[in-house]
Amino acid sequence: MKRISVCMVLLVVVTALVFAGGKAESAAAPVTIKVANYALLESGYEPFWKQVKVDFEAANPGISIEWVTAPYGEIVNQVVNMAGGGNKVDVIFGEIDWVPGLVDAGLASPITDILSKSFIDDFYVDVLKSFEVDGKPYGIPLYVSPYVLYYNKDLFTQAGLDPAKPPKTFDEMLSYAEKLAKLKDANGNKVYAFGQTTASVPVSGASLNALVFNFGGQVLDAKGALAIDNKGFRDAFAMVQLLDQKGYNPQNAKLKDLRNLFALGQLAMYYDQSWGFNGVKSINADAQRFTASAEPLKGGSGSGQSLLQAHCFILVNNGKSRADATRKFVEFVISEETLNAYLRDLTPAYPAKHSMAAMESVVNSGILAGASPAAGRVQVQTFIPKISDLNLELCALAQAITVGKENLDSAIAKFKNTATVKLSQ
């Protein structure tokens, strides 16, 4: 009997230890979330993200961040290859245009599966609509911007134009451009009047899509089908052709080429994402003094609507503990405390949340003041998985009618055929 009693006591003690130990371990189990972030390889942004990791881990003991890095153009492939090997990241920091591809790949999760309702409800409804696929939002923006018109106040003054009165329509812009195109820079180089990117990169295609919106046109309909038989589409590309014929637009330029030219005083006006100004400032610190922004131009029967651009987090659901840690990470980053200095010093942009509307870096942003009224005037572009490919075809169309010297209508017909085949595959 004594022996049985001892055995029973021992069994109880061991069982208690095992279960107690298991419980304590699961409560304190450290969680590591993997965040894919190309910006860590870009010197201007690296210190910010490194500090985010330090601050987040200090505020959330037990959660650590593991960065997954690759250059901008390769990070999506990196994430996909990792996922194919069973190693999924939790967060992807990227562009809004990456969302449909990652949803189609089965990698992105609806943000409602991971983030809290109260956090999501703080975001502008129209902004979140831009992230929807089949009625569910699949990305959460850190900050947003339409394509804004940056212009050089010094060059405006030299051309006899009022730097406080930027053009509001494409017709006005053309009359300004006539005067600006006569200028030379200090080294005798040509000054380009107006920059619209057309190089063979998807972001240039997105910018051309925004130009179509300026003219009240569309590229895709609400169901994601190609819908280019509209006046706004034709007018937008007629404008691209006209700018080229008059020699106002640097041919086949990437956004970074336009930023370089603008920083060097060889470009008077150009369309860019608001955070593109960081690239300008990194080349010429004096750009802060001579740069101002304006609303997107109105063309044809359009009202100057633009395309929403955003840097966002795309989330992957890897189970409860990692999803909880991901939620904390996202809420930590998309907050006034974390983003105020970032938006003030590095990346001029507009917040996407009601509670961040009055933050100091936005209210006092001299650079973005002129473009602010356009922040809410964005048109939602329907997401399709092949948006990047479609954007590249838009670039090919712009190149056909500029450097290719092709007829506008036949180039549009050819574009329509190619894009239809590509989207149907």
Binding site: A83, A199, N252, A396, V403
Partner: protein, 303 residues
């Protein structure tokens, strides 16, 4: 006396085979299997979703190949690829041979030149592409500036990569800059193996420089030429980083080669089935080109 199941010759063969196993295993795992896998996927509907979910592709009734025939992109990419390979290989061979002949003489500084001329070859291809992209930059590139000075201001808008008619040539210049050093060095090694006594004998027999070159030097150099040209054909047939970095396939798809097209289909459109279809056709073309090239050299050797 010890008896063996195998004779000495068979034992040597078995031993040789065992030594070859690691190389064979690597070849099968990293070359043969991926090629077969790619060919199979070219007949399937296979996207990134399949990679992530692990679900196999589904036979799609030749849809990937039919898709390639619906636009002129594949045809144009094939023409661009063959134009690029032909032009670069021919110019590269002629310039490399000329350089090798110069370096094979006793000119002053030949040894120094041989050392520094390898610099472009050791520069990574992507870096070479970035260097040439900036040199050719149409608004503030060095080449534009130099041409503006050389033409006394008559040509101020030189933009080789912006013009669909010249963009392929722009990438070709970068390819030549990168590849000529290695071919020159290989040809130089071949030239240094041409026996001097035969050349001297030909000279004594009254053969001039040109005759000696065609009748003595070239036949001895022929095996090296065959190898270097096939290396160059393969290198330029599969050239991707120069195109993707310098032009992205533009302007107006003027530099979209088969390499660029397969990348766009597979990793921009995320349609790995269509990307594999391009790759499969591309591989068949490359095999055919190398086969015919070898046939030509075989006929020449027999001649």
């Amino acid at each position: 006396m010890k008896t063996h199941f195998l004779n000495r010759r068979q034992r040597d063969g078995l031993f040789g085979f065992v030594l070859d196993i690691p190389a064979l295993a690597l070849t099968v795992a990293f070359i043969i299997v991926p090629i077969f896998d790619s060919v199979i996927k070219s007949f399937q509907e296979y996207g990134v979703r399949n990679i992530i979910s692990g679900k196999p592709g589904v036979w799609n009734n030749w849809a990937n190949y039919l898709y390639l025939s619906k636009t002129d992109l594949f045809l144009k990419a094939t023409i661009h690829t063959f134009s690029f390979v032909t032009a670069v290989v021919v110019v590269q061979f002629l310039l490399s041979l000329a350089l090798a002949l110069i370096l094979n003489t006793d000119i002053k500084g030949a040894r120094f030149l041989r050392s520094i001329m390898m610099t472009p070859w050791v520069v990574p291809t992507v870096i070479s592409a970035l260097i040439w992209m900036w040199l050719f930059q149409p608004q503030y590139g060095l080449v534009r500036y130099l041409i503006s000075i050389a033409s006394f201001g008559a040509v101020t808008d030189f933009a080789i990569l912006n013009n669909p008619k010249t963009a392929l040539m722009g990438v070709g210049i970068a390819a030549l800059w990168k590849q000529i050093p290695l071919m020159s060095l290989l040809l130089l090694a071949g030239l240094q193996n041409v026996p001097h006594d035969i050349e001297e004998a030909a000279m004594i027999d009254g053969a001039g420089k040109v005759r000696r070159f065609y009748s003595v030097v070239l036949p001895y150099l022929s095996p090296v030429i065959k190898v270097t040209i096939s290396m160059s054909i393969i290198e330029n047939f599969k050239q991707f980083p120069l195109f993707w970095t310098m032009t992205g396939g533009g302007p107006n798809n003027a530099t979209t080669t088969l390499a660029v097209l397969s990348y766009r289909e597979a990793f921009v459109s995320m349609n790995l089935g269509a990307g594999s279809a391009v790759t499969t056709l591309w591989m068949v073309m490359m095999i055919a080109v190398v086969f015919f090239y070898n046939q030509i050299f075989r006929i020449q050797d027999m001649g």
